[in-house]
């Protein structure tokens, strides 16, 4: 529980009494002092973090692998991150001392032979002491296993616990927790590491290696994306979610169609019979992991927030600026749901028209 700040704004009344000012606009906290830089001045060893990017950014899981490397690195170890796919963000707060980007190795392209050969070339030139990768389904789990099979290094996959000495992972059908000494290749399961770092790093750009050529064994015949309405809510990448503050569900449906988003709902909406039960998101509904979650007229009760804890970007539209969803959301727009949805529909149509 957070306690009341005894230094919060106050006035002195005419009788000389001090009175706290309730609901005063609390000034945003003064910008934090910049975090100390961790990057070693005289590096002796190096650890390598390898991950695919998604739309120019590293996702949470990849950042956890990077954070693990940075936390475990000692004062003479450089953390180098090799990003496969384009990168449009700065990784210094994520703990990267050096960044190498191979933009051609996007996860949507299937070219495991090129990826593995390029990886082996990077490893050969950098001689890392240890390698960290997220054990995910967008290609890092696959690539990591290919690397393991082609090297004689000690390894652990689906690591759920890690520290300076050991790693642990579930085995025998998830019935036992097995531990071993910290291996040379670590494939991390999601959420085994806290990405909050008390330091930042230099994130120096390193020149990329030359790519190797394909072996001709594999050929990519292209992606098949199904429209958002066809796939299960748990798999959806963009969800527009309706709460009790939505008067007009048909507006929301139009908006979802325009954004190619799946539709979700809070329990109140489902209980009212406006949407089927399988659309309910939350503790007693579905747990979703969309990249973007647009919460419209949802107050953000804990039971609802439980269901969206893995969503990356939460945007809230709400009339009430003190609703709990505002604390969770990365962007909150205060106003009437219907008006803003209508405006959004108009703006999207305009933007799409301008592009076409």
């Amino acid at each position: 529980m957070s306690r009341v700040n005894p230094m919060r704004p106050q006035q002195t009344t005419s009788s000389g009494l001090k009175r706290m000012v309730l609901q005063a606009n609390v000034k945003p906290e003064e910008a934090h002092a910049p975090k100390p830089i961790r990057s070693p001045a005289k590096p002796k060893t190096r650890v390598l973090v390898i991950a695919h990017s998604d739309r120019g950014a590293l996702d949470d899981h990849a950042r956890q692998a990077l954070a693990a490397a940075a936390i475990l690195a000692d004062a003479e170890t450089t953390v180098t991150v090799l990003v496969l796919g384009e990168l449009h963000e700065n990784l210094s707060s994520a703990g990267a001392d050096e960044v190498m980007v191979l933009p051609e190795l996007d996860f949507q392209q299937f070219q495991p032979d090129v990826e593995l050969a390029s990886l082996l070339a990077v490893i050969k030139s950098m001689q890392p002491m240890r390698i960290f990768m997220p054990d995910n389904l967008i290609g890092d789990g696959d690539l990591g296993r290919r690397l393991i099979a082609h090297s004689q290094l000690t390894t652990a996959t689906q690591v759920v616990e890690i520290d300076t000495k050991h790693v642990a992972s579930y085995q025998a059908g998830c019935s036992v927790l097995a531990v071993c000494n910290l291996p040379e290749i670590v494939l991390l399961a999601a959420n085994a590491v806290d990405t909050d770092l008390p330091f930042s790093a230099k994130a120096t750009h390193v020149d990329a290696v030359e790519l190797n050529h394909a072996s001709g064994e594999y050929q990519d015949l292209g992606l098949q994306t199904s429209s958002a309405a066809e796939i299960a809510l748990e798999e959806a990448d963009f969800i527009v979610s309706a709460g009790n503050g939505v008067q007009n569900l048909s507006t929301l449906e139009t908006l979802a169609l325009q954004l190619d988003a799946a539709i979700g709902a809070s329990r109140v909406v489902v209980d009212d019979g406006k949407l089927p039960r399988d659309k309910q998101i939350g503790a007693t509904g579905k747990t979703v992991s969309a990249t973007s979650y647009l919460a419209i007229g949802i107050s953000g009760a804990v039971q609802h927030l439980q269901g969206i804890k893995d969503c990356r970007h939460v945007i809230a539209i709400n009339r009430d600026s003190s609703a709990p969803i505002i604390k969770r959301a990365d962007l909150s727009v205060i106003g009437d749901a219907e008006d803003i949805m209508q405006a959004l529909i108009g703006e999207i149509a305009k933007a799409k028209g301008a592009n076409a």
């Binding site: 957070s2 950014a57 296993r145 000690t154 594999y218 796939i231 973007s292 970007h313 205060i334 799409k352």
Partner: protein
Amino acid sequence: MSLQRIAVLVSDGKNPVSGEARHCRNDSLALQVGLNLVPDLTVLHAGNADNPALQDYLALGASHIDVVPTNGDMVESLAAQLQNVDLILTGTRAENGEDSGLLPYLLAAKLNLPLVAGALEITQSGNHLEILQFLPKGQRRRVRVKLPAVVVVHPLAAVELCHVHARQILGNITAHPATNSAVHHTPWRIDTPRKPIKLKAPLVQTGHERLMAAITSKNKGGTVVNDGNCVEKAQVILNFLREHRLINY
């Protein structure tokens, strides 16, 4: 070249509650994917021929199961049985043992074959396979791979399993003699059952910082937009989506 010899690797699963031996569902899916391609398969298990889990695979369509012992290196003993095979099918993750999902990769490297993981559907075209591959977020990808190859079947592969008791009675299991080879494994130890501990960066704080952290609540919310008319607010949302590359218009 056409698909003639397909080998399916099956492991022994167990019921997560009772611990009773049973088939591993994902491996059964691999078996069924293979049966849909050719009627007669080589089914291979490394372990014990008496394992009751193997009876399940007979009922699910394997007419014959070859069992190799595991007193040596499992990859080595499986690879010895898998020479001249056109296609090797496996599941994604076993339920008994290390469950690392590494076995198909080690095998492919040992036999020097290409490998495709996450297969939902497999069709043959000449001396290639076309595979529908699982990607998260509702995406699927079509890839082509040259035969011979190793294909790892995804747990969501859309095939029907069919348990027939008569097949269980008719099927047979052959145990092969041991081959000797070195074991090359990470030395795992079983720990006491507990919750894994999350790795956190140690925070060095001065007394004043700790006091401030205790009396002020950390404001974690994002940007809040109060001003402007509806169109401006809609623009803010669109800009946010554009900035994070969530839309491309």
